[in-house]
Amino acid sequence: MEKIDLAFTLNGEKVSRTGVPGDMKLVDFLREDLGLTGTKFCCGIAVCRVCTVSVAREEGAHQEAIRSCTTPLSDINGRHVTTVEGLEEAGTLHPLQQAFLDNFSFQCGYCCPGFLMASYALLDRLKRQPIPADKVDEAIEDAVGQHVCRCTGYVRYHQAIRQVLLETPGLVT
């Protein structure tokens, strides 16, 4: 197991470690080393998408939703990672978090951070490249259509995301 020196940005803060296993999975590092348990672990084979976090190649670059259960730390070096813990600002929930609560989108909540981070990456994409209103449902399906939820049947997640996309200025033409 090759050891690497790790340096990346997590929720706006620098994180660095020396001699960490390069093939350690990001979700394990977040939860076990940093104690950030908001990112969940489930299938471990990048199918359920519970463990989704958002990654940018550099500061200000576009956000990409990735599965942290199959992403080795060696891929994270130099990147800017956002997890569910990084969404709120000064104690105020992100509009997506608030919309998920307002719409009762989740029940047990285990899949919620994954839905949040994939939607967060979608919002970032639409800020850069707005879409017509009639393409919103398609964009939501693209972003979270592979995420597994066993409680609420997806309806309220889609409802909440649609609400945020339509109410946030500049995302929809």
Binding site: C43, G44, I45, V47, C48, D137, E141, V144, G145, Q146, H147, V148, R150, C151, G153, Y154, V155, Y157, H158, Q159
Partner: protein, 89 residues
């Protein structure tokens, strides 16, 4: 979960399916949002059969009606009328 039980999820009673503990989501298929009638769901709450009918659990509400509802939906798509239940009297 009701849609999964009705259409996708094989759960043999003898423990040879996902219950053996070795299955993951590559073998055990659960519904995704594209399997669900997003935005097109109508909930119909039937009155109790009798004033002293026992209380129902949430899982009964969520699971039991789903398979017949899907059957009814398929019939409706084919323009066949859904037969009414026989009058028990």
């Amino acid at each position: 979960m009701g849609v999964g039980q009705a259409l996708l999820e094989v759960t043999p009673a003898d423990g040879t399916g996902a219950g053996d503990g070795l299955w993951n989501l590559h073998r055990y298929h659960v519904p995704l949002s594209s399997d669900i009638a997003l935005g097109k769901v109508e909930k119909v709450i039937l009155p109790p059969e009798a004033p002293d009918a026992p209380a129902r659990g949430i899982a009964e509400v969520a699971m039991i009606p789903i398979a017949p509802a899907i059957g009814n939906a398929v019939r409706a798509c084919h323009r066949h009328p859904v037969p009414e239940a026989a009058d028990p009297a």
